[in-house]
Symmetry: C2
Subunit: 199 residues, 2 copies
Amino acid sequence: MRLYNSAVSGNCYKVRLLLAQLGLEYETVEMSVVDRSNRAEVLGELNPGLRVPTLVLDDGRPLAESNAILWYFGDGTQYVPEDAYERAQVLQWQFFEQYSHEPNIAVARFWKTYSGQPETFGRQRERLLAGGHAALDAMERHLDGRAFLVAEEYSLADISLYAYTHVAHEGDFDLDAYPAIRTWLERVAAQPGHVPIDA
Amino acid sequence: MRLYNSAVSGNCYKVRLLLAQLGLEYETVEMSVVDRSNRAEVLGELNPGLRVPTLVLDDGRPLAESNAILWYFGDGTQYVPEDAYERAQVLQWQFFEQYSHEPNIAVARFWKTYSGQPETFGRQRERLLAGGHAALDAMERHLDGRAFLVAEEYSLADISLYAYTHVAHEGDFDLDAYPAIRTWLERVAAQPGHVPIDA
């Protein structure tokens, strides 16, 4: 398998983390998240969204969108519940992640730490922090009294939300006010087979 | 079942369309997409994202995020493939919809047609149209020569992308340049049990 990857992308890290926990081997092709000029050339036939991660299976079939890739490999394993309602809850948190969390927290982190354009971060900082804090508030309320996001078991939902939450400080988010999130981050990092984002 | 609904929301329409095609009954509670001041009070215990649609099952359990709700009801029916790769492809298009399509096309439509703030649309028009056209370009390339988004069968992926694409003109998008999308929209609207957004 071949993973079109960015080492700093939380979306790519989700896939690397699950594949590590499943013990699956793959090669990577590193893509820049700053200079995207080769995206259409490299990914045009593989992923209509031209984003990373894009994965090419052993038989050549491509698959895109981090959370869809997680389901392809995770369904049928311990990381996806069998109950229909719990499966939908995993998806609920993953769609929340892509709509309400990533566009604020990952984008703030990108502009502040990885873009080389701190002035662009400055112009968007207030809006991104407000949106990101709303997402963190929602997670904090839900995780208060719970061990994991769904059904008290570590699942794809935790992988998806861990990816950018654990590096939120790189986007100027302070997790001091989020004790349930901090405990949950430690719990996720202690799972068997866990690998850090810079592994 | 109770659906917290907005009549004009494409995200809510996805759920109404699938439930109609499955012949399932439900009541609705209408929520405003302009005055959101009651969202925490009404949805706070049901949906951490405080968005519509939010669905409450007969036994009182809540479920949120339009595409997660579609999977809860659609999985095991003709609208979700059985093959693992095709199932992941359905998810790929649904995550594409929530990340690359809805935030441009639905948001442009909201500001232009439903917000009562046309000046806000004016300020964001250029950015939203650029993002929306990129999403439509990706769909057009994929649908050229295909009947449906995944596996040549009508699926949840088509429901999810149909919802805001078929009303994209309300956000100033002109579909004249997208013949494959226009043919696909007609094909989706001709499916058994189809209901329009204002049914």
